[in-house]
Every structure is written in structure tokens, then in C-alpha cells.
């Protein structure tokens, strides 16, 4: 009986007999953290998991592109965990293990939802199944990371320590990395759809130009003018008009480059003219801008 009680206490770490309880989280806390992560993953990527083009791209995308996508996803997770996710000073190994954990959870969660919705079934080759899972799991993993870091209620007290850690980091590097995460998180839901291609191929040039202007005004406004949540703390106050304009250009460049990468990955550039490539990037750049400006602030609130 005594042994069972001890076992129960160790399993649920209510009051662990070992000294590891000093800094290790209780199982209960870990479970809650994973649940927050899973909620975040679903919140940001359930639209993707319910999109046909994504299931198809799982078997249309070559192994080389899948490998590159997985690596880029891992790098984004590392960057996000380094700058935002781990609210304290940490070693590189800790950052890597946190990112591995999130990517692994992303793969498992994606596999489960695809199985539940009947997208993974007998008769499919291993290539098809693994492709489908990898294509979706990267966004799910970023969602999990954001969910773990942002959806909890206990983050406030560690704010000071986080701020201290933040000040030591390179400001521009941090901003660029988090902006890419925001852009990917928001635009990945739209990137593989046929709609981007249809809009890009049918849109008139002057409307494309207006879309560029709207994206830049909206993104620049969020970062520097409309007092969006978190701008005071997270965005360096521009000393002149030119600095705000430069900041807006950097943000829009990030949105366009992230869009182009996602479109290339989903095979939307194959055999396309230069005009088509630019048009598609601008069309997807619109949601990506929202991710790189407003999304960026929300995922590190």
C-alpha cells in the first residue's frame, strides 16, 4: 500500500521524494502545458487540416522539398523558442529539445486528425501518408509552440526575467525571426489553395499595385501608428519618419519572401512566368503581411 502511494506521488509528482522536485514541473503542469500547446496547434492549423489541396500536396511534393520544409520548420521553431517560447536564459540544447518536442507533437497531432477525418487510410503508400503529415505538421508545430508560450495564464510573473533576456538579444534578428513565424503561421493556411493562383492570374496590374500599397499601409500602421497591442513593448519606437518607412519595408519584404518560399514549396511556381510568380507572391503577401505585423505582436504578447 505504502509503495503504491509512493508510486502515485512519483507519477503525479505531488510531492516527489526526490530532490528533482525542486525544479522539475509536476506531471499535472506538464499535461496542462501540452494541452495548451495542442489547443494552439489546432487553433492555428485546423483550417489547413481541412483543406484538400494540402492533402494532395502531401504526395505531389518531392522528398527534397519536404526535407527542406522540415528543416525550415525546425529553424523557425528554434528561433521562436529562443526569442519567445523559453521565458528564461537557456542553453542551445534546451532550445533544440523544446523544438524537437513540439515538432514531434505536431507530427503526432497531425497524424491523429488526418486519421480521424479519414485522410489516412489503408491502400495508401508510406510516401503519401508521410508526405501528408509532414506538409501539415510544420504549421501545427509552430501553433503548438505559440500555444505553449502564449495561451497560459501564469506567464506574467516571469515577465521581468524575460525582458532581461530579451534586452540581451539582437533586436533586429529577433524581430525578423518572429515576423517570419507570424507570416508563416497566418499565410500557410492560404498558401496551398487554388484560390491564390486564380486571383493572381486574373487580377489586373493596377489592382495588384493597390494590394501592395494596402499591405504596406496596413502592416506599417499596425507596427507604428494605430497603437496595436504590444507595439510599445516590442517595437523599437522610430526616431524619424524614414525609420518607420524602413521598418515597414523590411516587414513587407519578410512577408513577400515567406510567401514566395511557401508557394515554391507547394509547387505553385512550377512552369510559371515571372509575372505570375510576382503576382502570386503579392496575393499571398497580403495575409502574410498581417502575420508579419499583427500576428508577430500577438504571438509574443
Amino acid at each position: 500500500m505504502g509503495f503504491l502511494l509512493l508510486l502515485y506521488r512519483v507519477i503525479f509528482s505531488l510531492e516527489s521524494p526526490l530532490s528533482m522536485a525542486n525544479s522539475a514541473k509536476s506531471i499535472n503542469e506538464s499535461l496542462k502545458e501540452y494541452a495548451r500547446g495542442i489547443t494552439g496547434g489546432l487553433l492555428f492549423s485546423l483550417p489547413m487540416l481541412y483543406t484538400m489541396e494540402l492533402w494532395w500536396s502531401g504526395f505531389l511534393v518531392s522528398p527534397l522539398r519536404l526535407t527542406i520544409y522540415l528543416f525550415v520548420g525546425l529553424l523557425l521553431l528554434l528561433a521562436y523558442n529562443h526569442y519567445v517560447g523559453l521565458r528564461r536564459e537557456h542553453t542551445l540544447i534546451e532550445g533544440i529539445s523544446e523544438s524537437m518536442e513540439e515538432l514531434g507533437l505536431g507530427l503526432l497531432l497531425t497524424a491523429f486528425v488526418l486519421w480521424l477525418t479519414g485522410r489516412i487510410a489503408p491502400g495508401m503508400s508510406f510516401n503519401e501518408v508521410s508526405g501528408k503529415i509532414i506538409v501539415e505538421a510544420v504549421t501545427v508545430a509552430i501553433g503548438i509552440s505559440v500555444g505553449k508560450a502564449q495561451l497560459g495564464s501564469g506567464g506574467e510573473e516571469s515577465e521581468n526575467e524575460e525582458d532581461k533576456a530579451r534586452k540581451k538579444n539582437n533586436h533586429l534578428g529577433r524581430e525578423i525571426n518572429i515576423a517570419i513565424c507570424g507570416a508563416v503561421l497566418i499565410a500557410a493556411n492560404v498558401a496551398p489553395t487554388e484560390e491564390v493562383v486564380v486571383i493572381a492570374l486574373e487580377i489586373e496590374n493596377f489592382k495588384l499595385f493597390i494590394m501592395t500599397l494596402v499591405s504596406m499601409f496596413l502592416g506599417g500602421g499596425v507596427l507604428y501608428y494605430i497603437n496595436f497591442r504590444g507595439t510599445k513593448k516590442r517595437i523599437k519606437k522610430p526616431t524619424s519618419k524614414y525609420e518607420a518607412i524602413a521598418g515597414t519595408f523590411i516587414m513587407y519584404t519578410i512577408a513577400l519572401v515567406s510567401s514566395a518560399f511557401m508557394l515554391w514549396f507547394f509547387g505553385r511556381f512550377d512552369g510559371l512566368s515571372l509575372r505570375g510568380i510576382i503576382a502570386e507572391s503579392v496575393v499571398l503577401g497580403f495575409p502574410a503581411t498581417l502575420g508579419a505585423s499583427a500576428g508577430r505582436l500577438l504571438i509574443q504578447a
Binding site: 522539475a24 505531389l60 525546425l74 524537437m100 513540439e102 510516401n127
Partner: protein
């Protein structure tokens, strides 16, 4: 001072499973890149046992792509009989990925058991 965050057994378990999964998938992808030759779609079709429904005969069909690339908008025509009694059935699949199979049914008003069915793969696109 660096604060090491100690992990409990659940976190270790999740980390180990996750790492194995991620590394396993990377190894698989690299293996695919190096050793698997990309071959164009190659469609084969198998029939199952004909079933008598109300007023028609239904034949189960399995189309298999033994190539490694995906066939898109695959159309398969199945012809039952010839001459005046000829009946044609058409089956369409939006996608048939490499090394995978899809199932479907074709139906005829005359019993196809009496004569061999003729398969005609009408065509497919390579995306």
C-alpha cells in the same frame, strides 16, 4: 547564471518519442531522395467478383499506380461485350498517388461474367 529546467518523466518520454519520430522521418526522406527512382505513373487495373444488384451488375475495380509519380485526373473506361451489345462504363479519379491504389465500381445492364471485360486507360495528367 543559467537556470537549467529539469524534466519530469513525462517530458522525457515526449522528448524521446518526438526525437525518434523527427529523426526517423528525416532518415526516411533522405533515403527516398537517394535510393528511390522517380518513375512516371503506371496504372494497372484489377476486377473483383461481379455482384447482382437490382436490375444491374456491379463490378468492383481496383486501380493501382505502380509508378512513383502521381497520376492526376485519371480516367478509366471499361467495355463489356462488343458489337451491338457493347456497353461502356467510365470511372474517374482526381488523383492516384505513386505506389498507391484506389477502389471504385462500374455497372452494366448485361452480365459481364459471360465475356471478358476490356480496360481502356483513357489518360491522366502528371502534375
Amino acid at each position: 547564471m543559467k537556470m537549467e529546467d529539469k524534466k519530469n518523466w513525462l517530458e522525457w518520454l515526449v522528448l524521446i518519442i518526438s526525437s525518434l519520430l523527427v529523426l526517423g522521418i528525416l532518415v526516411f526522406l533522405v533515403h527516398e531522395m537517394i535510393y528511390t527512382e522517380q518513375t512516371p505513373p503506371n496504372i494497372t487495373v484489377d476486377f473483383g467478383k461481379t455482384e447482382l444488384k437490382e436490375g444491374y451488375f456491379a463490378v468492383p475495380i481496383t486501380a493501382k499506380n505502380i509508378g512513383s509519380e502521381t497520376a492526376e485526373d485519371l480516367q478509366i473506361e471499361v467495355i463489356n461485350g462488343f458489337g451491338n451489345t457493347e456497353e461502356k462504363a467510365l470511372l474517374e479519379f482526381p488523383y492516384l498517388p505513386g505506389n498507391s491504389s484506389v477502389n471504385g465500381w462500374v455497372t452494366f445492364t448485361k452480365n459481364p461474367e459471360n465475356q471478358p471485360l476490356v480496360i481502356h486507360i483513357l489518360g491522366y495528367a502528371t502534375p
